[in-house]
Symmetry: C2
């Protein structure tokens, strides 16, 4: 799979710049060769945002992006004015190498907070990557943005005469040092920045925004979408939106499946809610309950821990109406004991389905999360700096 | 220490009713013998509240409580109308034994959700407890409400001519099966229900409400305050309020110190906030961060994980102003690297102090929490039903 180089009009590369002590690939470059260079992006809402986020927010404003440079091995967050200058210098180097404007270069970083980047290595790596750019470079780029990820994440979708490709990094939000999620998506369809922005916000709203591995929000999260227009096809907007949402959901679930230390992927679905907001609030509250998440780790279909979280929300429901179904078994019916909980098999598969029926309307939403395990504690305590 | 029987006018007892399979004490009775019987109470805000909470909310409305019966070994939550009838029956039995009105008997339960109580044992236990009531029974009562607590929790304060005593159960909020917090506080001062209510709400607002071990809210939390007036002293209201807040904070910190699986007690203080709400929001956000809590378990003064949580709040601050001090070392100054983090000693004491300076005003607040440990995961996964 080629990921970001699956659509026509893109070249990419991943190299080892020496930023990571491990000697693994740590720098990626993705270049839009046009003929269009439209783009949109969404960023972390964390107010303690990293320098590359501050920079890239400005870059995206005119709806044009020529290249994205991404490094692992350092987040360049909480590094002050010098850190911002490092990001600026990186963009200028890429611009110079590619013959484009620095204000059309998005910069993404991931790694530890509070440390300056090794700029000599970054700049030398940028030069090496620009020389290695290839229309088959997507897979290499995807590998070089991995941090605690155990596998690279890529996805592709084929539309009517055009292609969408993407890559992502992030071991859920479960990784040490905040597990930044970085995503680059490309398409050769003909779309203007406003269309890309609308489609991207809709797609991330139902995919990455609903993946909540441990409730912790990174300072560096970035999702950027670029179109080259190289396919020469103006897509049906509804089809494009649907495919983009599919691709983003595919990548989001790949992130959860690789969440550090997790032994279960849990889909928490709230149904028959009075509003979408209610459904999301309930699913998110349950997804963030440490007691619920440890119960699932213990293969325990503990519906009491689900209900006690539902009870903390402002969603419309009557407590006595609540049903909870775990892996198809309605273990709680009408806020009381339902079917035999021993019928629930949590041990034989990684996937877990929890359905909460509010009986208050017709809306539904799913939030995906992971269980809380010994390995989560281990990897986030023993090995962080 | 006598706890709830330290003030004059109260008798108490703790017995083994056989509710717990372990054969440990599991039922307590606290009786106000007057001459006054004024009372106030606060309850969980969880909308999935247990039967005894529904019952006791009605009991407290007239400001009179003659007795409190508490059982461990079963929460009587999510048990429907039959569960409510069990609570009602329990109150009637206590009323009959003591010659008081059932509508003046508060009932508290703690244990697993979704299971009916063994009523024969409860009723026999109530009879045994009423026969064992003693003015020295506070300590026995405190032991019999323990669930996963490793030590009983009691506190006493002496005012000008009067006494306040209290007992609490709850192993933080870290225990299996939701770790309900039950607290009974007594005083022999002369106070009316409105005065008790005002003092209790003020005291719980700065004590139990700011202890947030794992962010999970029980279905059964109850704090009840009774005055007997037996000292014949009408206290200075400010003095009483201050002593009550001290006593509640004492009990709250005892709960955190006994939090299951925790190896650190963490005081997260936010200073120089624009408002009390801002200070609380910031302290609470940090207190609920699994990444921060695992870092403390690993003795890692990871200020990046503090800042990234601060950044998710709506509190007033400029990101570039933020300072973070851990155990007296300002490891983050102005949102960047501060003093040498290796100067922070997290290994040699259970207590950890985190101070976040927002530089946006003059308000401050502290939220107390625990670290996230292997034992937390173990005790909430392997041993829950």
């Amino acid at each position: 799979m080629q990921g970001v180089t699956a659509p026509a009009g893109f070249r990419a590369a991943g190299v080892t710049a020496g930023i990571k002590a491990s000697g693994k690939p740590d720098l990626a470059l993705v270049v839009n060769e046009g003929p269009q260079r439209a783009a949109a992006a969404v960023f972390t809402s964390n107010r303690v945002a990293a320098a590359p986020v501050h920079w890239s927010r400005e870059v995206i404003k005119d709806g044009r992006v020529d290249a994205v440079i991404l490094n692992s091995g350092g987040a360049n967050a909480c590094t002050g004015a010098p850190g911002f200058q490092d990001t600026h210098r990186t963009a200028e180097e890429v611009a110079s190498l590619l013959g484009v404007s620095a204000t059309d270069v998005v910069v993404c970083s991931t790694g530890l907070i509070g440390e300056r980047l090794p700029m000599e290595k970054i700049l030398a790596g940028a030069a090496e990557a620009s020389g290695a750019l290839s229309a088959e470079g997507g897979a290499g780029a995807a590998r070089s943005i991995m941090t605690t990820d155990t596998v690279p994440k890529q996805a592709e979708r084929t539309g009517s005469g055009y292609t969408i490709g993407g890559m992502a990094k992030g071991a859920g939000m479960l990784a040490p040092a905040l597990a930044t999620m970085l995503v680059v998506i490309t398409t050769d369809a003909v779309l203007n920045p406003a269309q890309l922005d609308a489609a991207l916000r809709a797609a991330t709203g139902v995919s990455f925004d609903r993946a909540d591995s441990d409730g912790c929000m990174s300072t560096n999260d970035t999702v950027v979408l670029m179109s080259s227009g190289a396919a020469g096809v103006t897509p049906d907007e509804a089809e494009f939106a649907a495919l983009l949402s599919e691709l983003c959901t595919d990548l989001a679930l790949q992130l959860l499946a690789d969440a550090e230390g997790a032994s279960h992927d849990i889909a928490v679905q709230t149904v028959n809610a009075a509003s979408l907001e209610d459904a999301l609030e309930v699913s998110r509250a349950v997804s963030r309950s440490n007691l619920f998440k440890t119960a699932i780790f213990g293969n325990d279909p503990n519906w009491g821990r689900v209900l006690s979280e539902v009870g903390t929300t402002k969603a419309a429901f009557e407590a006595s109406d609540l049903d909870v179904t775990i892996n198809g078994v309605m273990v709680c019916r009408g806020c009381g004991v339902g079917e035999d909980r021993s019928l629930v098999d949590l041990a034989s598969a990684r996937e877990v389905s929890v359905v909460i029926d509010l009986k208050a309307g017709t809306e539904q939403a799913t939030v995906w999360t992971n269980d809380l395990t010994h390995d989560y504690v281990e990897e986030n305590s023993a090995y962080s700096s």
